[in-house]
Symmetry: C2
Subunit: 418 residues, 2 copies
């Protein structure tokens, strides 16, 4: 089965939003083993949409539409497909009742425009919309399947995943599976990682191995096709072992892991508490940890000491240390880490100070960051970063490197890591 994804919406062509729906649907279809050969975006224009449909029909047997199912005049996906295929539109009773109730509850009059959303292609099967008013639909005609989905991602994503995907899966008679496994790396650049696994990248067939970099992290996606799930798992496991032999030191997680989620997991597993004193990151490190539910058993809290005065007054760092060594210094990061650990009575204390940009700070060039990590009564360990990004990229990288180094340190000290 070869698919094309056809997004309808002038806001995409005006560059107001990205076509994230195509990304989402593509990754879902890839899990089903359905090849996607084209994405097309067309505006709210019936003639151009119909031409795009004809082209899609010439090269795909599954066409998935997103957008244009709403109540306004601009929404013309259904109407255009109906005319193109020569099928009529008819009201779906369930969808109509749902829309009527929606307006009745709010005491607002329901216009004909809203009623229009309950129209479906005759002969199609409805895909329920649990997050909006416009139902989706799936129709097979002349051995070609058409799926219509609403544009807003919060409606489209659950509708595809829970309504359309099971139907597609049932239609497929592939007898095979495609599985993907994502390996996540930190502390190594994309170029350097690719050089180290070059032989694997060059010789890949099945599994395939695809590198991708974003936000300073690098991932390798290992994808295997096989007759059975077990066989695919075995192919992946063998390739993962090969890769780990080369760059395993930099791998911090898999699939949906994040540096923060792995750090919190390690803290909770080892019953360790943490606090942080942040200058350039100004709370971002703690906020990243707090993205993870359950963090309250590890993160006690911390301080943001953005000014020199705050560092002195809130953490008791001596004016002399700041004058002698500077605010952006190993000594300052270490003192911040120790002070916050004592103040919050935690196992671990973190100190973060640096020049985020856009201008130098305390005579240190933009991108200079010192991270201090105090574990128990040990002398704090400090790390120097030279980052090359813009202000907020540097702040985020500083927070991520803190997770990376903290996990390394804890592992070296024998704390368990999943």
């Amino acid at each position: 089965m070869n698919a094309e994804i056809l997004a309808v919406g002038s806001e995409l062509l005006l560059g107001q939003i990205s076509n994230t729906n195509a990304k989402f649907i593509s990754s879902q279809l890839s899990e089903l083993g359905i090849n996607v050969y084209y994405h097309t975006v067309v505006g709210d224009n019936a003639q151009r949409l119909e031409e795009a449909i004809s082209i899609a029909e010439s090269r795909a047997d599954l066409i998935i539409f997103s957008g244009g199912l709403g109540p306004t005049k601009d929404d013309l996906t259904k109407e255009t497909i109906a005319r193109h295929l020569g099928v009529t539109l008819e009201f779906d009773d369930i969808a109509l009742t749902y829309i009527e109730q929606f307006f009745a509850k709010r005491g607002r009059p329901m216009t004909d425009n809203n009623r229009k959303q309950a129209l479906i292609l005759a002969g199609s099967e409805v895909l329920a919309n649990h997050h909006g008013m416009a139902p989706g639909m799936i129709l097979t005609k002349d051995e070609r399947t058409y799926i219509l989905l609403p544009g807003p991602p919060k409606e489209l994503e659950p509708m595809f995943q829970f309504e359309a995907k099971p139907k597609l899966s049932a239609m497929l008679n592939t007898g095979g599976v495609i599985l993907s496994h994502v390996m996540r790396f930190y502390g190594i650049g994309e170029a350097e990682l690719e050089v180290r696994v070059q032989a694997i990248l060059d010789s890949q067939t099945n599994p395939t191995v695809a590198p991708l970099a974003s936000d300073g992290e690098v991932t390798l996606r290992v994808t295997a096709k096989a007759e059975t799930e077990q066989e695919a798992q075995q192919l992946i496991a063998a390739k993962v072992a090969e890769i780990q032999a080369l760059v395993g030191d930099y791998q911090y997680g898999i699939d949906d892991d994040s540096l923060a989620s792995k750090t919190v997991e390690m803290l909770l597993d080892n019953q360790l508490t943490i606090s942080a004193a942040e200058s350039l990151t100004a709370g971002l490190f703690q906020s990243e940890l707090a993205e993870i539910p359950g963090v309250g058993d590890a993160l006690v809290g911390g301080v943001v000491t953005y000014t020199e005065e705050a560092k002195i007054k809130q953490l008791g760092i001596s004016k002399k240390l700041l004058t002698t060594h500077g605010i952006v210094s190993s000594e300052c990061a270490a003192a911040m880490a120790s002070a916050v650990r004592e103040k919050f009575d935690t196992n671990i204390g973190i100190g973060l100070t640096g020049a985020a940009g856009p201008t130098a700070h305390d005579h240190q060039p933009v991108g200079t960051v010192w991270i201090g990590i105090a574990i128990g009564d040990e002398k704090p360990i400090t790390y120097l970063l030279h980052l090359s990004g813009m202000r907020n990229t540097n702040r985020l990288r500083a927070a991520k490197f803190t997770c990376h180094y903290l996990m390394q340190l804890l592992e070296e000290r024998g704390f368990k890591k999943r």
Copy 2:
């Protein structure tokens, strides 16, 4: 001039990344008044790419390619276009020298693959790449213009903006301009805002008015076409005034403003200092403010008090208050705001406490948030939110609402707002 954007890369069709390049190029072309009628994405496959080129040629006179200019075997955009147009590929001396120097500096051998990146279409003009090795190019043949850009956004965006756009602008002889102006709103839902400006949305011609919602914010993009820039500015100003008469109370900024940037601007303009005590947001409010350069003159710092113990020990909040009123309460938010303001000796103190999710906190349902704002010696004002998002959406909304309410309060007290 009608354009089509043709992105080349199997990673797009596999759903590994979004086609953000198409969004970027589209918004740039819209500024030039060039209509974009289609986006197409095709994989790293010469035959399908050539078919896509033929289709694009049948409906566009400007075709902009992204991706497929790199060193690997998968990169075949240039080669395919060369064959399709019947032009040869030749080495560009400047690009070749740049690549050779890159490898010489690093003492690494340069392979033929890397050399390949310096090949350009005969007769094309080179678009310099200041952030990578592969040059872009622009070629006009048979009254149709082809622009080839590299895939990585950090290479493509500056190349388009500073190399390709001026050339396109010079080629255009439109005698007209298109200008856009974005109005930014907070504290009002998209549906509610649309209802209030319904008459304007229904009757729009020139300027057009397009609503868009994301991350709890709503924007209206007002776009005018006119003979001169001045005329377009006048059209926009008149429409903006009409809109402001209806929903001006909720507008916080324009264009690239953010709630944080407007808040920091207002604090700096009025020489006000701020500190914050954060629980559910765990530093996110302070970190959002710290995204803005120059914030150091306003943000002194603050505390993250994630646990009950930290609230008592670090802020001196009484155990009795927490037992009587609860951790997620107006009283607690007010006490946090007052305590942090005194501790950091600032004009303004912020207190944030709530149940971010995924489970209830202190018997309060997920999404319950109390914001406390203490200005000078005034009794703190508190605000209650009932948010309906997931954990981290709720945390971000709480930080954004804090900016929104703080600006309102300061304006009410006569502090100047730009």
